[in-house]
Symmetry: C2
Subunit: 195 residues, 2 copies
């Protein structure tokens, strides 16, 4: 079991066929995830391709995460909570300035993603819109978006299968409104055997 401490991040390789289990150990904690093709980092996770090819805003069990080149990167095998977001960008210094009026330093998923990914040659401008695991963004017919506390409870998890060799980055999200006002860790496991 790997632990991502509150308001931090991690990056690692996940090979084709391996499985990744991302767990909310305490409940009500978001994890932003981005993906890159481990053999060619110009290919990366795309919200636009995923929403297009899956024909839904709400990505969960049996959906695939797709790349900017139109390839499947991961399949979601199981999602015990069932509410994730793929609309909103990772929280960043600009998020805290513009949405929270916080002008001093504040940890952010954007910083935690690009610093974790730097050893792989990935730069801040390369970070795409993340798949925001456990994030509860509600929308109405008028299109208005509301960020509410996650519905995930202690032990909820999402299990992915890699469809290509991947570089994966995960965070324990740093935005107050996205996490019910408190910051908790995220756990993850890499599984080689069939599950």
């Amino acid at each position: 079991m790997n632990i991502i401490k509150k308001q931090s991040g991690a990056a690692f390789k996940l090979f084709k066929g391996q499985k990744l289990k991302v767990i909310d150990p305490e409940g009500m904690q978001v994890s932003d995830m981005v993906l890159f093709n481990a053999n060619d980092i110009g290919e990366k996770l795309s919200s636009g391709k995923t929403l297009d090819f899956e024909e839904t805003i709400l990505i969960t069990t049996n959906h695939h995460l797709w790349s900017n080149r139109g390839s499947q990167m991961m399949r979601i095998i199981m999602d015990t909570n069932g509410r994730n977001d793929f609309l909103l960008a990772p929280c960043s210094p600009e998020t805290f300035k513009i949405m929270y009026n916080i002008h001093d330093y504040h940890p952010s998923c954007f910083e935690n993603l690009y610093t974790s990914l730097a050893p792989y040659g990935i730069k801040p401008d390369d970070i795409p819109t993340a798949f925001n695991i456990f994030m509860n963004v509600q929308f109405g017919q008028d299109g208005k978006l509301k960020v509410l506390p996650p519905l995930s409870q202690k032990g909820d998890y999402i299990l992915f299968e890699a469809k290509m060799d991947l570089i994966v980055a995960l965070t324990a999200c740093s935005a107050e409104d996205s996490n019910g006002g408190t910051f908790k860790p995220i756990h993850f496991e890499i599984l080689d055997e069939m599950v």
Copy 2:
């Protein structure tokens, strides 16, 4: 008046303060638009940042289009139709294979964007999710997405103001379902004076 012929594209510079009018001259025709900072092409249009900071899926009059670095790229001054999409990726060869089962060559917004942008040093992998002007993507509370014919009528337009020096690429969209089954041109004007 500049004309983008059916199933083609164009790219050009738009300087800070200049205005861009994108017109549907016959009605029911989508135009995909992407933006880059003309002085640093690592900065580009971001659907995730725009939906986040504008707090809505439906981007129209008085909203801004934001970059991956959290800066305003354009403001929408006027939108006579009022329905645009910022969820779905530009149609691409993979779109026609996966969504239409067309395996032969088919023109696509993705190809028209990257070939138009090639003279500016922009590569296919750099193309972000486009702002899909006049595109009518409906969504329900269950998240399911439906691409319907555009609601735009002959002469409908959207007027943008550049908030930084930009490289703009526009298409006349090539996907059957997005354009009511027929392909039409798109017109655009660049305006220097106050409008």
